[in-house]
Amino acid sequence: MRIELEKRPERSVLMAWASPVIAVMATVVTGGLIFAAIGKPPLQALWIFFLEPFSSLWSIEELVVKATPLILIGVGLSVAYRANVWNIGAEGQFTMGALMGGIVPVFFTSWQSPLALTAMLVLGILGGMLWASIPAFLKIRTGANEILVSLMLVYVAQLLLDWLVRGPWRDPKGYNFPKTVNFEDWQAMPIFGGGRLNLGIVLALVAAVALAVLMRRTMKGFEVRVLGEAPRAGRFAGFSSDRMTLFVFLLSGGLAGLAGIVEVASTVGQLQPNISPGYGFTAIIVAFLGRLDPIGVVVAALMLAVSYLGGEAAQVALGISDKAARVFQGVLLFWVLACDTLILYRLRIVRSAPAAEGV
């Protein structure tokens, strides 16, 4: 007996929706097995990891805060991946956005007006775009692989940030800690309520809705999908894949940059060597789990935010390494990609003996 994959004539609408659900369930089962293997009670561990984050208002708020950068980055990446352009360097664009936006509080600390915040956000977007334009330009001009270039630029951006906050941009009153001045008042994101919930989530939802309309209803979205599905047909339609590469890199880079400045102007509150728990990479999983659809990305971002909160909770309650969150994210991406096979193929169990012998 063997299992065969049989191509479906069309993509299955049912499986397109069911695949992420199956993937999440498979991840939970795999997670239980991992907990059991390292000697933790699997059910209790799963409870702490996946359900406790929903048990209090505080943690739900925290969930939204964690999901904000994932949505902003994820919606941009989903458009890029639809166009078959592989921007893997959102983490670097995030860092550059934070860095460029940080120019305002670092150099114009006393400028307190809504304009200051606007300038920070605009600079953040420009910073992400600038960083993303490098792999786009190299791909168009020289054919350099955008996956490698964008990924390597992540480390360049992180080292640049590290050097700035330890050297020229260090807060003179900061007791020699590697950090800049605190971002305060009009140089930070407005807060809703008493917690850490801020304007960022509004920006993220606006971006998601705007891109959903772009992808579903406009010529530009059509162009993205055609070039991603069949580049030759895109050329036949008169679309330019070079311009598309630049467009999606600027779009996804700009949104990652915006996520960067929103994050440092809210939760982090300053520039420091470490400003992200890997949002730029986690957003890749978010984009795929959300079916490369901007609205799906919002749902997926909330789910991935759970893994961050659950990871922290499991660290406290069970003494598991905080790397557990990364493991879960990896397992989830694996299952998402595996289950996506079912959209275009169906499983068929075949008897091992060829039929010719029998009849």
């Binding site: 059509f222 050329r235 060829p354």
Partner: protein
């Protein structure tokens, strides 16, 4: 190693046959889900027989052959080899039995030499020099001249086919299966192939010959099995039939003949190409050299040629998918547009149908209505909408429905994904989508490639009608029957150079064949081309 194989096979041929037939398939059924591709098919081939397997596209020929070659397993039925029941579990087993197959699409590595390509297919071939010597001797013996050290990329399609044949011959087959072998050959190359096959048959090797070219089947084959909708409908001796009677058996009805249109009126020039040069854009691509042509209103100009002689490059240059710096190199409706892109050329009234339906003419994963938008973005994003660039889905739906009903596109649901349509139906849609725009110039590459006879007739009729309505139609095709059926003038492309266009009534198959060989060939070909030019005063 080589010596022992030859000796064994020699002994094998001498064996007494235990059955009258070399290979026999009885009651073969093959189902794919609910679809029955082969239904109780019987096929029997004698040693030394050239047996034709005839049928339309989708009649089940390939399915049957794949089961003989072991790449598919029958749902029911048995296969007998020399009277013994056998199970052909996989192609390796088929080769062990003595079955060789030459596929329609070659699987060769272009960057490797002939010997290296053959070595890859042979088990435990280690001595390259010995293998090269064997290739040289086998290819010489069978009249298939091959240079073992040549790089595949430098070889013509005919020569590449020889590699595949020699690769099979080295395994000393007793049954050679050939899938549409002449589809890619010039008439002269095909003649050479027939000699080789006749020689093989005289030595006792059976040949199963799949083709839809009835004339050559009549000439070459001793027996035939005709399939229609997965069933055997007739077993006839093709030499005793006419091409028309064979076609009737294949299709089950008289094939719709194309109505000739009224006498041609030389209208204004629709498309003018002037000394177009286009560099090759890859190591295996063809450069266009000073291509000139003129297409007038009301005529069909056909460009014949063996695949890979610059047809795709010419199409790309005409459609604007590849642009040239000199605007005057391509003139559509009096407008120099060599530097313009495909969208701007469409706005001038041109329409294009590329060779590849899936992935070029249509996006496989898109619905038909979305595929409509592909070639008319300028229409849907009209002035008011262009600012925001919103799509008009209702107009797209309506257009898709209109095209489907006008061109008889058969589909399982109202708006299916392009990839779920059969080749013929998708081609009708892709051609219909362009005709629906009422183009002034239509450039179509291989309009009926891989399309069943019914769809092909509909498409050809539509092209003839379009020209009759005053458009200029440029047809690039490898199918000479098609060209002679619909063309007013015929030009031939060879190694990136285009011959002048000759009136169809002064062209013969032989003359086209000589031009296909190209002026780069022997002096005979040049002479032939010159005579032809003298004979036809109307050639420009």
């Amino acid at each position: 190693m080589s010596a022992s194989v030859t000796a064994e096979a020699g002994a094998g041929r001498g064996e007494a046959e235990t059955s009258e037939f070399l290979v026999e398939a009885r009651g073969i059924v093959k189902k794919f889900g609910a679809f029955t591709a082969n239904d109780q098919v019987d096929l029997a081939i004698r040693p030394g027989e050239i047996h034709a397997l005839l049928g339309e596209n989708g009649a089940g020929k390939s399915t049957l052959v794949k089961m003989l070659y072991g790449s598919l397993q029958p749902t029911a039925g048995r296969i007998f080899w020399k009277g013994e029941p056998v199970v052909v579990t996989d192609p390796g087993r088929a080769r062990d039995l003595g079955i060789g197959m030459v596929f329609q699409h070659f699987s060769l590595f272009e960057a490797l030499s002939v010997t290296e390509n053959i070595a890859l297919a042979l088990p435990n071939a280690s001595d390259m020099n010995a293998l090269a010597a064997r290739i040289a001797s086998v290819s010489r013996d069978y009249g298939l001249p091959l240079e073992p050290r040549a790089t595949v990329a430098d070889l013509s399609v005919g020569e590449r086919q020889r590699i595949e044949i020699v690769r099979c011959l080295l395994q000393e087959p007793k049954l050679l299966i050939m899938d549409e072998p002449t589809a890619v050959l010039t008439p002269q190359e095909a003649d050479q192939l027939f000699l080789t096959l006749e020689r093989l048959a005289s030595e006792g090797c059976a040949v199963l010959y799949i083709s839809h070219r009835l004339e050559e089947v009549k000439r070459l084959c001793h027996a035939s099995t005709i399939l229609r909708h997965g069933k055997v409908v007739a077993r006839v001796d093709p030499s005793k039939e006419t091409a028309a009677s064979l076609a009737r058996l294949m299709v089950g009805a008289d094939v719709h003949a194309i109505r000739p249109k009224h006498a041609r009126v030389a209208g204004p020039t629709r498309l003018y190409v002037d000394q177009l040069d286009l560099p090759a854009n890859g190591p295996f691509a063809v450069a266009l050299q000073k291509v000139s042509l003129e297409l007038r209103a009301g005529e069909i100009l056909a460009i014949a040629g063996v695949a890979g002689n610059g047809q795709s490059e010419l199409f790309d240059a005409l459609s604007g998918e590849r642009r040239v710096d000199r605007a005057g190199a391509v003139v559509i409706e009096g407008e120099p547009c060599g530097h313009l892109g495909v969208g701007e050329r469409r706005e001038l009234g041109a329409a294009f149908v590329p060779e590849e339906r899936l992935g070029h003419g249509a996006v496989p994963a898109f619905r038909l209505s979305e595929n409509v938008v592909l070639t008319r973005d300028s229409i849907f994003a009209d002035a008011a909408r262009r600012l925001l660039g919103f799509l008009d889905f209702r107009a797209a739906d309506e257009t898709a429905a209109r095209v489907s009903s006008a061109y008889d596109v058969r589909k399982g649901k109202p708006d299916p994904e392009a990839r779920s349509l059969s080749g013929g139906n998708l081609q009708k849609f892709v051609v219909g989508r362009e005709l629906d725009r009422k183009p002034l110039v239509l450039v179509v590459n291989q309009p009926t490639w891989g399309v069943d006879a019914g769809a092909a007739a509909l498409i050809r009729q539509a092209l003839v009608d379009l020209a009759a309505d005053g458009a200029g139609v440029l047809v690039i095709s490898q199918d000479l029957d098609e060209i002679f059926e619909i063309a007013d003038r015929i030009a031939v492309i060879s190694r990136g150079a285009l011959s002048p266009g000759y009136d169809a009534h002064v062209m013969t198959l032989e003359k086209v064949g000589l031009l296909m060989g190209g002026a780069h060939g022997g002096s005979e070909a040049i002479e032939g081309a010159l005579k032809l030019r003298e004979a036809d005063g109307r050639a420009y």
